[in-house]
């Protein structure tokens, strides 16, 4: 299947969870509650189809073909 990740087409195995996608992008393994297992704050948030998905639901959220996913973090800004 294909999703849109941060504005770009992104091929993905069926039934991939949001948790797996975040780990793949950030390189940080996640606990089922969505916190990074390295003990440091992850500092990212996810919107799926223009709705924020709380980190506690990432592992239970399977992505679907055509989903639009935005993964954001803090950058420099006034």
């Amino acid at each position: 299947m294909n999703i849109t990740l941060n504005g770009k087409d992104h091929p993905l195995d069926a039934d991939t969870t949001l948790s797996a996608l975040v780990t793949r992008l950030t390189g940080r393994p996640l606990a089922p509650n969505g916190q990074a297992t390295d003990g440091r704050k992850l500092g990212v948030a996810v919107a799926r189809n223009a709705a924020v998905v709380p980190r506690s639901q990432w592992s239970a959220t399977a992505l679907a073909d055509g989903d639009d996913v935005e993964i954001v973090t803090a950058v420099q800004g006034g």
Binding site: L25, A74, G78
Partner: protein
């Protein structure tokens, strides 16, 4: 606050005058809020932040990119500086609310600097969308720091909607033109019962001192430091300027007069025949 941050101002009266700013029940030892925008490198930014003495700094929310993981988030965590995410780049209440929700999730804070701008040319706030977004965010439990025009009517309306701080602009973002309408800023201050933070347009230290002299509770700036030729020196200048302006504001300036007034007594002068 460390001794280095308080500088040489240690007399009891001035210590009282430099009491912390309290926003949403949180004490901030510095009345200078430094944004992180415009810095060419994270190292330079870190040094400028330390020199400024700030305890609160703004960040923007953007798409995660694996390429640039010299993490700003980590830098701020390491330095113990509280984060104030902004909604920079949002043109509608809808986008601003969604961005604030993402920031709350990513950074685990319900504080948000609400920016809803009208267009990229002026970067001025869109009052209608700003009011709408403030209402929605307050209803969702956010603590809204509302970036607003220097309009006393709008500022009061934002406060009445539940903003925890109002942040009028001195002049448009990034212009360095200073405070174009001091009278309006004074009017906003005189009617506000939440902290007033002068935000945007600061060019140099005297602009920040003026903001504090006008009665503002704090000053927020970014590019005035990050794009200065020597950001660390400029951050130090701003740290002193904000303290100086605050002290001057509380000390009570002399009234302005139409004519000169001698400070030396006229009586008892020697007469030369």
């Amino acid at each position: 606050m460390s001794e280095q941050m308080t500088g040489q101002v240690t007399e009891p009266a001035t210590t009282a005058a430099l009491a912390p700013l309290v926003i949403d029940g949180v004490e901030l030892g510095s009345r200078l809020i430094m944004g992180t925008g415009g810095a060419p490198s994270l190292d330079g930014l870190g040094a400028a932040l330390v020199a400024s003495g700030t305890e609160l700094t703004t960040v923007a929310m953007r798409r995660y990119s694996p390429a640039e993981t010299g993490s700003l988030f980590q830098l701020l965590e390491d330095q113990g500086i509280r984060v104030l995410p902004n909604t920079a780049g949002c043109f509608t209440a809808r986008d601003a609310v969604l961005t604030a929700e993402l920031a709350r999730e990513a950074l685990e804070t319900d504080w948000v600097k609400l920016e809803v701008i009208a267009d990229e040319h002026t970067l001025l706030p869109d009052a209608v969308e700003l009011v709408e977004a403030t209402e929605q965010l307050v209803n969702r439990g956010f603590k809204v720091f509302a970036y607003t025009n220097d309009d006393p009517v709008l500022a009061l309306r934002l406060e009445n909607l539940g903003a925890v701080a109002v942040m009028p602009l001195g002049s448009p973002i990034g212009t360095g033109l200073g405070i174009l309408n001091p009278h309006n800023i004074e009017l906003i201050v005189s009617r506000a019962s939440v902290p007033v933070v002068l935000d945007a347009g600061i060019g140099t230290a005297s602009d920040a001192a003026l903001a504090m002299e006008l009665g503002c509770d704090a000053v927020l700036l970014a590019t005035a430091v990050t794009r200065a030729q020597d950001p660390v020196m400029m951050a130090t200048a701003f740290r002193h300027a904000v303290q100086a302006g605050r002290l001057a504001s509380l000390a009570g300036r002399i009234p302005r007069r139409e004519h000169a007034l001698a400070s030396s007594a006229m009586e008892g002068r020697a007469e030369f025949l």
